[in-house]
């Protein structure tokens, strides 16, 4: 009973704040995810490119950002851009430390990390295409661009869906780490509530339940998407 009053929508309930924070979690996750898709596309293109230097750069990118803790990357981006901003601001005469916007730096950090995973997903999807199809398209005289647009892309997107869904779940969970640089998303809001009511278990459990709800619902969404994308594909019986 007490719990529902605490998390309710009454005058001293935290329900509204927690839901708003969950919205912020979804927002920062979406921005980070989209950035990750862009980085992933660039990474995959670089890994498949003819130029050794591009392939090598992409290899370093995926190795480093998949091998280093996400928290460390968030610190790098937050403090890195903050000290950049601070030095620019001091050139214009401002005093002291200027913090970078937590939303942008957090989303960017998540984008860079998830982009490394996304690169691997896209590579796998492109490599899943039967070689014969590409040879056939070439034999018909398609240019590389046309071949990519008509043959590779539509099928690779289909193959990539399960991997992309995994990365989305990863991004959602990683977004909790942005709380350490002060963005008021679900995790930070739970900390605030826990601090001011001295009921940490209730708040963190509620946050966990909301995360679970978001991952569960988006999991169903991706399953439906996969089913739809695969509707024209014959499966081996």
């Amino acid at each position: 009973m007490q719990y529902f009053q605490l998390m309710g929508f009454g005058p001293d309930g935290w329900g509204r704040d927690m839901l708003a924070a969950a919205g912020m979690t979804i927002g920062v996750s979406i921005v980070g995810f989209v950035a990750g898709v862009l980085f992933g596309c660039c990474g995959a293109a670089a890994k498949l490119s003819r130029f050794g230097s591009l392939r090598w750069t992409a290899e370093v990118y995926t190795t480093v950002f998949r091998g280093v803790p996400d928290l460390l990357v968030i610190y790098l981006f937050y403090f890195g851009s903050s000290s950049l901003i601070t030095s620019v601001a001091s050139m214009f005469g401002a005093q002291g430390f200027v913090g970078a916007p937590a939303f942008l730096t957090g989303a960017l950090a998540i984008g860079v990390v998830s982009g490394a995973y996304q690169t691997q997903v896209f590579i796998g999807a492109v490599e899943a295409l039967p070689r014969g199809e590409i040879e056939a398209a070439r034999a018909y005289g398609m240019s590389s661009f046309l071949l990519f647009r008509r043959v590779v892309l539509p099928q690779a997107i289909r193959f990539a869906i399960p991997g992309v869904a995994n990365v989305w779940q990863l991004v959602l969970k990683e977004s909790a780490l942005i709380s350490v640089v002060g963005l008021i998303e679900l995790m930070r809001q739970a900390q605030i509530g826990a601090g001011s009511t001295r009921q940490p278990f209730s708040f963190f459990l509620t946050a966990a339940a909301l995360y679970l709800l978001i991952t569960f619902v988006s999991g169903i969404g991706f399953q439906a998407l996969e089913k739809r994308a695969m509707r024209g594909v014959r499966r081996p019986a």
């Binding site: 091998g67 610190y75 790098l76 995790m187 900390q191 940490p200 963190f204 966990a208 995360y211």
Partner: protein, 244 residues
């Protein structure tokens, strides 16, 4: 651009956090593996009373961030006076044990599915053959299923161990000064995130590289049939034409 003396100084400070990072990894991975084994057995038991609780456990721990799990254990449990007065409190009060417990509970959920996949990968015919030879179920499980399941899941499990190394970084949010905790401290003291990041990143990459190599070597040692056969001895007798 890179200030070398500062970088070396940073690196030597950060290396001081490696023992704690490794301790957290080893303790949570080993205790998590035991729990994962129990969960995997529940999943394959065929008994819904065991299967569904295990399913729910895995669903809940895989669907929420590790950070939430760590906070629930470290901050959340103090909400219950019963726990605060129990004998467990000396452990639950320590950030160190809370991090180990939360990380172990988390990795157990992921590893359980890997173990289940390994157990299911063993061909049914082999189990039937073992039973036909008169092995009891536990003996067949121990001699036939388990060794092959272990070998099968090892590559995926090495990924999980690497993920756990990365997850120990979250222990820094509950005051532990492992590599990332020290890195955060150094960054806020020096405002030079790039050098600190390179140092800490190099440490994590080295640890993860070593784990990957170790697991790959173990995998090779455990799969004698996949190793290249030794080159046949080139003796004049075998070279000689048969119908001389």
């Amino acid at each position: 651009m890179l200030d070398l003396p500062f970088f070396l100084d940073t690196l030597s400070t950060l290396i001081g956090g490696v023992p704690l990072t490794l301790q957290l990894t080893v303790l949570s991975v080993s205790s998590g593996a035991m729990l994962a084994f129990a969960l995997a057995l529940m999943r394959v038991s065929g008994n819904p009373l065991l299967d569904y609780p295990a399913r729910f456990y895995i669903f809940a721990f895989r669907g929420t961030p590790v950070l939430v799990q760590i906070y629930i254990v470290y901050y959340g449990l103090s909400q219950f006076p019963v726990l605060r007065q129990s004998m467990l409190w000396p452990f639950l009060r320590e950030a160190y044990w809370c991090a180990v417990i939360a990380l172990a509970l988390n990795t157990a959920a992921y590893s359980a599915e890997l173990i289940r996949g390994g157990l299911n990968s063993v061909a049914v015919g082999q189990i039937e053959a073992a039973r036909a030879l008169g092995m009891s179920r536990p003996l067949a499980f121990r001699r036939i299923i388990l060794p092959q399941a272990f070998r099968q899941m090892l590559p995926a499990y090495s990924n999980e161990i690497i993920l756990m190394v990365k997850s120990t970084a979250l222990a820094s949010t509950i005051t532990l000064l492992e590599v990332t905790g020290l890195a955060a401290k150094l960054i806020s003291q020096s405002y030079r995130p790039v050098e600190v990041f390179i140092g800490a990143g190099a440490i994590y990459l080295t640890i993860n590289f070593l784990i990957a190599r170790l697991c790959a070597a173990l995998q090779t040692a455990l799969s004698p049939e996949k190793r290249a056969a030794p080159a046949p001895a080139q003796s004049p007798e075998t070279e000689a034409p048969r119908h001389g």
